[in-house]
C-alpha cells in the first residue's frame, strides 16, 4: 500500500519544480480554476491502487514549472471516503507542494473546517474564495482581508467563471505562506497530541497534524504507520489514544472536529455577515419545482424526453448512420481492407483484421462508429445535467423508489447511464459507496437495463406490433428489474449507504467546462472501453475459426426451440447477441421481417435477449470491476434466468391463449 503512495509521489511531479495541489469541497469551481491554471492539456489518471481520478496539468510562471493536481472534492481530511483518503495521502506524501484551497464563499463555514486542517499540516497555503458572485447575490459579504489576517495566509475573492480575481491568485501562488493559525483543543487532547508528536518521524506535513489524525483514530493511516513506525511505538500511540478516549462519551474524531468547528464559528463571527436576502431567485424556484412531489414528475419526464431526443435520435440515429454508413462503410473499412490485403500476406491475420469478425471491420467499427456517437452524445447530455445541478435533484426524486431495490437515489446515475451503454455504466458504479451497492447495480445493469444500441432495435420491432405487445415486454423487464433488485438486495451480504446528497444551486452550465469534462470522459472511454470491444471481437473470431459457434448453436437449440418455442434460426441471433448486443436484436429483426416469427414469438425473444448480459465487452468490464468470481456468478445466473423468464412467458401466453 505504502509503496503505491511513494511511487505516486514521483509520478505526479515528473520534471516539475513543485506541485500545486487543488483541494476543496465538491462543486466549488475547482475544475474551472484548474482549467484557468493549466490551459488545455490535461491527463486524467487513477491514483495508484484506487479508482479515484486525478487530473493533472502543468503551469509555468516566473520561470518555474509546476504540476497542478486536481483532487476530487472532499469534505474532511479525516477520510470517510476513498476520495478523501487519496487527497489526504497526496498531501501526506508529496514534497515541496503548495496547496490551493478553492472555497465556495457562500459556504465558507464548511470550507474553513478544511482550511484549519490544512493550516494544521503547516503546508504553504492559498485560500481562493470563489463564487463571490453567488455569495453577493445572497446578501453574504466576507471580509477577506480580516480573514487573511486571522489565518496568516492570502484569502483571495474570485469569480472563476468570469476570471475575476484570478490574476491575483496566480501571482500569490508563487509566494504562498504557511498559516500561523492553531486550533486550541482541550487540555487532554493537547497533551496527548504533544506526546504522540514526539514519537513521529519528520514528514512533509507537521507532526502535530499527524498526531491529531492518529488521535482521531484514522484507520486509513495504518499502512503509513506500519511503514514508518516500530510495532511498540504504534502500540504506545494506541494506548495514549484510548486513555484520552475514555474521557469522552463521543468518539474522538467527532470531538476533535467539533472543537475545530467551534474555532471555525468564532472566525465566521468576525468575517462573515448576511444582510437581508434579496428575495428568492429564479434558480431557487426552479430547484423547488424540480423536486416537487407532483410538479417534479413532468419536469423529469420532459428532461428524459429531451435526453432521448438528443442521444437516442440524434446520437444513435443521425450520428451513427453517418459514421457507420458513410465514414466507416464507404471510406475507412474499404480502405483498410485494401490496405491489409496489400500489406498482409497471411490469410488468417487478414481475417483477424478485416474479416467477418475482424478487429477493424467489426470491433473498431462497433466501438467507434456505433457506440462512440451514442456515449459521446450521452456524455454531453450527462454533463449538462450534472453542471446544471439537475442530476442530484433527479436522485432526490427517485430515492424512495430505489430504496425498494436496496439502493438509494445515487444509483440513478449509473442506471440512467446504462440506457446509453451498459459497459460504461458498469464502470461508473464506482461512484457508489458500498461494495454491496456496486454489485447490485452491476447485476441489474447487466440483466434488465437495455442499452441504446439494443433499445433502438427493440423499440423498432415493438413498433410494428400492437401496443399490448410493447406493454408486455416493458412490464416483464420492469418486473424482473424490481423483483431481482428486491430479492438480491436481501441476499447479497453487506450494507447500503446513507443517502446524504448535496444539492448545488441550479446553474447555467459553462460551455468550456463542459467541453473539458466531455473530452476527458471520451478519452476515458477510448482508453478503458474500446480495448474491451476489441478483445470481445477477438474472442468471437477465435470461436468462429475453431468452429465453436456451430457447437454452441447445436447445444442451445433445444432450449430455444423447446422452451422458448422459437424457430431454430433464432439461436444465431442469441449467440451473436451476447457478442454484440445490437446484432442479436438485429438478427431477430431480420427473422421477424422474413415472417418467421409471429408476434408472440417476437415478444418472447425480445424479452429474453433484453435480459441477456448485454455484450461480451460488458462481461469483461464486470470481470475488471468486480472480479472473475463475481462476474462468473452473475453470468451463471443471468443466462439461465433469461431463458427461464422467456420460457415462462412463452408458456403463459400459450396457456392463456393470448395472441399479441
Amino acid at each position: 500500500m505504502h509503496g503505491h503512495g511513494a511511487r505516486g509521489g514521483h509520478r505526479f511531479r515528473k520534471g516539475a519544480d513543485r506541485a500545486i495541489v487543488l483541494v476543496g469541497n465538491p462543486n466549488v469551481g475547482k475544475s474551472v480554476v484548474f482549467g484557468l491554471l493549466t490551459g488545455q492539456y490535461v491527463t486524467v489518471s487513477n491514483y495508484p491502487g484506487t479508482t479515484v481520478e486525478i487530473a493533472q496539468g502543468t503551469t509555468g510562471f516566473h520561470g518555474s514549472r509546476s504540476v497542478v493536481i486536481d483532487m476530487p472534492g472532499i469534505n474532511s481530511l479525516i477520510p470517510m471516503s476513498e476520495d478523501e483518503r487519496v487527497t489526504r495521502d497526496i498531501l501526506l506524501k508529496e514534497r515541496s507542494q503548495v496547496v490551493l484551497q478553492v472555497a465556495d464563499a457562500k459556504n465558507l463555514r464548511r470550507a474553513l473546517l478544511i482550511t484549519l486542517q490544512l493550516a494544521e499540516m503547516e503546508l504553504p497555503l492559498i485560500l481562493d474564495l470563489n463564487m463571490t458572485d453567488e455569495a453577493r447575490s445572497r446578501g453574504i459579504s466576507i471580509d477577506s482581508r480580516r480573514l487573511s489576517d486571522i489565518l496568516g495566509i492570502e484569502a483571495i475573492p474570485t469569480v472563476a467563471t468570469r476570471r475575476e480575481g484570478t490574476d491575483r491568485l496566480v501571482k500569490e501562488l508563487s509566494n504562498p505562506r504557511v498559516s500561523k493559525y492553531t486550533v486550541k483543543y482541550d487540555r487532554r487532547i493537547e497533551e496527548a497530541v504533544g506526546k504522540i508528536a514526539e514519537l513521529l518521524p519528520e514528514q512533509p506535513i507537521s507532526r502535530r497534524s499527524l498526531a491529531l489524525m492518529l488521535l482521531a483514530g484514522d484507520t486509513s493511516l495504518v499502512p503509513w504507520l506500519k511503514a514508518y513506525l516500530r510495532e511498540d511505538i504504534i502500540t504506545k500511540i494506541d494506548q495514549i489514544r484510548q486513555a484520552v478516549q475514555a474521557h469522552y462519551p463521543d468518539r474522538l474524531s467527532y470531538v476533535i472536529n467539533q472543537q475545530r468547528m467551534e474555532a471555525v464559528d468564532s472566525i465566521m463571527k468576525e468575517v462573515y455577515s448576511v444582510t437581508d436576502k434579496t428575495g428568492t431567485s429564479l434558480a431557487a424556484h426552479l430547484s423547488r419545482w424540480s423536486m416537487h412531489p407532483v410538479g417534479g414528475i413532468p419536469i423529469l419526464l420532459g428532461v428524459l424526453y429531451l435526453v432521448y431526443k438528443f442521444v437516442g435520435e440524434f446520437g444513435a440515429g443521425t450520428a451513427v448512420d453517418f459514421l457507420e454508413g458513410v465514414i466507416f462503410g464507404r471510406y475507412l473499412n474499404p480502405w483498410s481492407v485494401r490496405l491489409v490485403e496489400y500489406l498482409v500476406p497471411i490469410s488468417i491475420v487478414r481475417d483477424l483484421l478485416v474479416g467477418e469478425y475482424g478487429l477493424i471491420t467489426m470491433g473498431l467499427t462497433y466501438a467507434v462508429a456505433i457506440v462512440l456517437p451514442i456515449v459521446g452524445t450521452f456524455f454531453v447530455a450527462f454533463g449538462l445535467l450534472e453542471d446544471s445541478g439537475y442530476l442530484p435533484r433527479l436522485a432526490t426524486m427517485v430515492n424512495r423508489l430505489f430504496k425498494i431495490i436496496g439502493l438509494n437515489g445515487k444509483a440513478v446515475l449509473p442506471m440512467v447511464l446504462g440506457l446509453g451503454c451498459d459497459t460504461m455504466a458498469t464502470l461508473t458504479t464506482r461512484i457508489l459507496e458500498t461494495a454491496k451497492e456496486r454489485i447490485l447495480v452491476t447485476l441489474l445493469l447487466a440483466l434488465a437495463i437495455p442499452c441504446s444500441a439494443q433499445l433502438g432495435v427493440v423499440l423498432g420491432m415493438l413498433g410494428t406490433l400492437s401496443l399490448r405487445a410493447a406493454l408486455v415486454w416493458a412490464g416483464v423487464v420492469l418486473g424482473v428489474l424490481l423483483a431481482v433488485g428486491f430479492l438480491s438486495s436481501r441476499f447479497i451480504p453487506g450494507r447500503g449507504s446513507d443517502f446524504i446528497l448535496e444539492l448545488p444551486p441550479i446553474r447555467i452550465p459553462q460551455f468550456s467546462n463542459m467541453l473539458l469534462k466531455t473530452a476527458a470522459r471520451i478519452e476515458w472511454y477510448l482508453k478503458e472501453v474500446v480495448p474491451l470491444f476489441l478483445l470481445g471481437t477477438a474472442v468471437l473470431f477465435a470461436f468462429d475459426k475453431l468452429q465453436l459457434l456451430d457447437i454452441i448453436r447445436k447445444a442451445a437449440s433445444p432450449v430455444i426451440v423447446g422452451l422458448l418455442g422459437l424457430p431454430i434460426q433464432a439461436t444465431e441471433a442469441f449467440l451473436l447477441g451476447f457478442l454484440r448486443r445490437d446484432y442479436g436484436a438485429a438478427g431477430l429483426f431480420m427473422l421477424a421481417k422474413a415472417g418467421q416469427l409471429n408476434p408472440n414469438q417476437t415478444v418472447v425473444s425480445l424479452v429474453t435477449i433484453t435480459l441477456f448480459v448485454p455484450c461480451i465487452a460488458n462481461f469483461f468490464m464486470i470481470i475488471k470491476e468486480r472480479g472473475l468470481k463475481t462476474a462468473l456468478g452473475m453470468v451463471g445466473f443471468i443466462f439461465p434466468f433469461a431463458f427461464l423468464v422467456g420460457g415462462l412467458l412463452n408458456i403463459a401466453l400459450k396457456y392463456l391463449g393470448v395472441s399479441l
Binding site: K106, N257, M397, G409, I500, L503
Partner: protein, 221 residues
C-alpha cells in the same frame, strides 16, 4: 437516599446492563472507585443486588433505584444541553453531580419542561417516569424531531442521535452540527434540508435522528 458510592455503582450496573454486560470482572474493571468490590458486597447485603458466581444481578429494589439515578442523570444532560446550551464535553461531568441531588419533584418538572424526552444527548434511552404517561399531551415539547417541522419551517439543531459514528462525522463536515439553524424545505419525495447555504437531500432515517428547537436561535449572533 443511599450513599454516593452505591449510587455510582448502581448507575454503572444499569449502563452495563444496557450493553448486555453483567460479569463481575467487567463491572470491577469499569468501576472507578478502588473499593468497588467491598461496596458491591455491602450492596448485596442490603438486598440491592445478587452476587452469583461471576455475575452481578440487579434485584428489584436495586433496579428501581438504578433506574431513577440514570433517569436523573440523563434528564440533567438534556437540560444542560438544550436549555443552558452547555458544550457537549462539559455535559457529562456536570450531570454526574446533578444525579445525586435532584428531588423527585424537580426531576418531574425538568422532564415536563423538556417535553418528556426519550433519549439523552448521547442517544441513550431515558427511563420513563410517572409524569411521562400522565402529562403526555399537555405540554408542547420544546424540542421536536426535524421531521415534525412543517415544510418551510426553521429550527435550531439541539442534538443528533449518534446512530453511527461515521454518519455523525459526515454530517458535521457538511455543517450539520448542534447549534446550527436548519430549514426543512420538503418531506416528499425525499427530505430536503438546508444549513447555511448548503442544501442536502437526506434519508428518512437521518431526518428522524435530528432534533431541533423550533425557530431560529443563532448562537452568539
Amino acid at each position: 437516599m443511599g450513599n454516593e458510592a452505591t449510587d455510582e455503582l448502581l448507575e454503572l450496573l444499569w449502563i452495563l446492563r444496557e450493553e448486555g454486560e453483567d460479569r463481575l470482572t467487567e463491572v470491577l474493571q469499569a468501576a472507578e472507585a478502588a473499593n468497588a468490590e467491598e461496596t458491591l458486597r455491602n450492596m448485596a447485603r442490603e438486598g440491592l443486588i445478587n452476587l452469583r458466581s461471576d455475575r452481578v444481578i440487579l434485584r428489584q429494589e436495586g433496579k428501581k433505584r438504578a433506574e431513577e439515578i440514570v433517569r436523573r442523570h440523563r434528564l440533567a444532560e438534556r437540560l444542560l444541553w438544550e436549555v443552558l446550551e452547555l458544550e457537549q464535553r462539559y455535559i457529562h461531568p456536570e450531570a454526574c453531580r446533578f444525579e445525586h441531588i435532584l428531588s423527585p419533584e424537580v426531576t418531574e418538572s425538568i422532564c415536563t419542561l423538556l417535553g418528556h424526552p426519550h433519549i439523552c444527548p448521547h442517544g441513550k434511552p431515558i427511563p420513563r417516569g410517572e409524569c411521562c404517561t400522565k402529562f403526555k399531551t399537555e405540554v408542547k415539547p420544546l424540542v421536536v424531531r426535524l421531521i415534525d417541522l412543517e415544510a418551510g419551517e426553521e429550527g435550531t439543531i439541539t442534538f443528533i442521535v449518534p446512530r453511527s459514528h461515521s454518519r455523525l462525522d459526515r454530517l458535521l463536515a457538511l455543517g450539520i452540527t448542534p447549534g446550527s439553524v436548519v430549514k426543512l424545505h420538503q418531506k416528499r419525495p425525499s427530505y430536503v434540508i438546508q444549513v447555511g447555504e448548503t442544501e442536502l437531500a437526506v434519508d428518512d432515517e437521518i431526518a428522524h435522528d435530528i432534533y431541533v428547537k423550533r425557530g431560529i436561535e443563532r448562537k452568539g449572533q
